[in-house]
Amino acid sequence: MIALADVTIAYGTGPRAVVAVHDLTLAVAEGEAVGLVGESGSGKSTVLRAIAGLIPYASGEITLGGRRVQRRRSTAERKMTQMVFQDPYGSLHPNQTVDQILALPVAIHRLDRGEARIVQALAEVGLGPEHRYRYPHQLSGGQRQRVAIARALILEPRILLLDEPTSALDVSVQAEILNLLARLRRDHGLTLLMVSHDLAVIAHLCERIGVMSRGHVVEITTATAMANNQVTHDYTRELLRSNAGFDRSGADRNLDVTAA
């Protein structure tokens, strides 16, 4: 469903270009959920943005749904790939009601039955009709993220790109959103590509996990292998250790840092 072949993504051009992702190759089958983990600056969000067509890529090929896509996407290609961002406080227009937020993609893509689609999208993400005419500031963080998910779903995409969809949320709300995403994936046969720094969150939703560091995928493993500590790369081990919480016995390792 998603295939990246030797994709290199750079910000800027010429000698000052910063290469954020080097020669990345990754394939996601239809209906599969794949996660990308890594620390800030590792390029994981950049990959999502390039797949969504938000930023150009320098070289390589991106294939979505069996067709190679160009930098300029057709309406149908954009409809097929939708994205949910990290911060539901920043990704929703503050001066538009939920109704307006959901009506916009319907209008842009000239879809029929706008009214019915909005009602259905809200119901699918567990929001009631009473939320439809509210502004984002009148909603909680979890409700806002539901609106952002509804906005992506209303176009009936086949691919959902999730950029840290729960990291701005409380633990109890995170569980609700993760359950919602799992259900939507089952019901709609969605292909998911999710980015997070939280290994447990990724492993909960995704079968396969790519570990990124400094613009490279250093290892592609599975959630099961991660859980059983069967990983090969040192960096992945380091991530696993850090995710397990604070370990006083192992804490003395490499404390020293030099100035960047």
């Binding site: 620390e39 109890s172 939280d198 909960h204 995710n243 604070f246 804490a251 840092v257 960047a260």
Partner: protein, 281 residues
């Protein structure tokens, strides 16, 4: 048992709202000795407000009331702003979430650390500089001389937080309040920053109050944990035994966490019981 470094009894913080007062913190009591005490809770539970109340940072129109709020043998209730200024940095210090916002962007990090030394210990510039360099070394920065002259935008998040810790500890406070000190950092860096904080706080026999939403982190790092919900402490338990917590809220939170190696189709969602909101006395 020696007398606690910090005693808090029935602390309440109230903000006036449109529909009557909002009680952000309700009758919170605890003592802090030479230990690591964690406060966990979700957003809005009052955990940060508790920390700020101890620092005297609840501004108008918020109101603080307490039966007892004592730092060692000093009563903090009704202490003037001038009085608090002498305490902050000297006897209680606070590390906040994001060093990008808590460091002064137009002053080199070394000067900022030295300034704390000069203010509280009335030292001369040369001594302050030497102390700041020693402190940078203590937080495991390899080339202190170079980092001393760097500005906050030139250092990474992890190093920025080391600088914050250095600045907070240079005047030798009794208590460090760390409010989500590692939430803005990458997981691998988090562990390093925590290890440094642990080393210094233990080495100096200080008390540490760690405020966080991260249950794993608090239970693996602290000695004791207070669980806050809607402004109250619902439960206090030994950190290592958080998994055996009794209160349904704590249990619900733990269950709602996705776990590596324990995959479930659906995560149990927290069912909030309205009785948790009622005043506990």
């Amino acid at each position: 048992m020696t007398s606690p470094l910090l005693t808090v009894r029935n602390l309440s913080v109230t903000y006036p709202g449109d529909d009557g007062d909002v009680r952000a913190v309700r009758n919170v009591s605890f003592t802090l000795g030479r230990e690591r005490l964690g406060i966990v809770g979700e957003s809005g539970s009052g955990k940060s407000t508790t920390g700020r109340a101890i620092m005297g940072l609840v501004g108008h129109p918020g109101r603080i009331a307490a039966d007892e709020l004592r730092l060692g043998d000093q009563d903090l209730r009704g202490l003037s702003e001038h009085g608090f200024r002498k305490l902050r940095g000297k006897r209680i210090a606070m590390v906040l979430q994001d060093p990008k916002y808590s460091l002064d962007p137009v002053m080199s990090v070394g000067q900022q650390i030295a300034e704390t030394h000069r203010t509280h210990l009335r030292s001369n510039p040369r001594d302050a500089r030497r102390a700041a360099l020693e402190m940078l070394e203590a937080v495991h920065i390899r080339d202190p001389e170079r980092v001393y002259t760097m500005y906050p935008h030139q250092v990474s998040g992890g190093m920025g937080q080391r600088v914050m810790i250095a600045m907070m500890l240079i005047a030798g406070p009794d208590i460090l309040i760390a409010d989500e000190p590692t939430s803005a950092l990458d997981v691998t860096v988090q562990t390093q920053v925590l290890a440094i904080m642990d080393e210094l706080v233990r080495g100096r026999g200080m008390g540490l109050l760690l405020i966080s939403h991260n249950l794993h982190l608090v239970s693996s790092f602290c000695d004791r944990v207070l669980v806050m919900y809607a402004g109250q402490v619902l439960e206090t338990c030994e950190a290592g035994k958080l998994a055996e917590a009794k209160h349904p809220y704590t249990r619900g939170l733990l269950a709602a966490l996705p776990q590596l190696g324990h995959r479930r189709a659906d995560l149990p969602q927290l069912q909030r019981d309205p009785t948790w909101m009622a005043d506990l006395v």
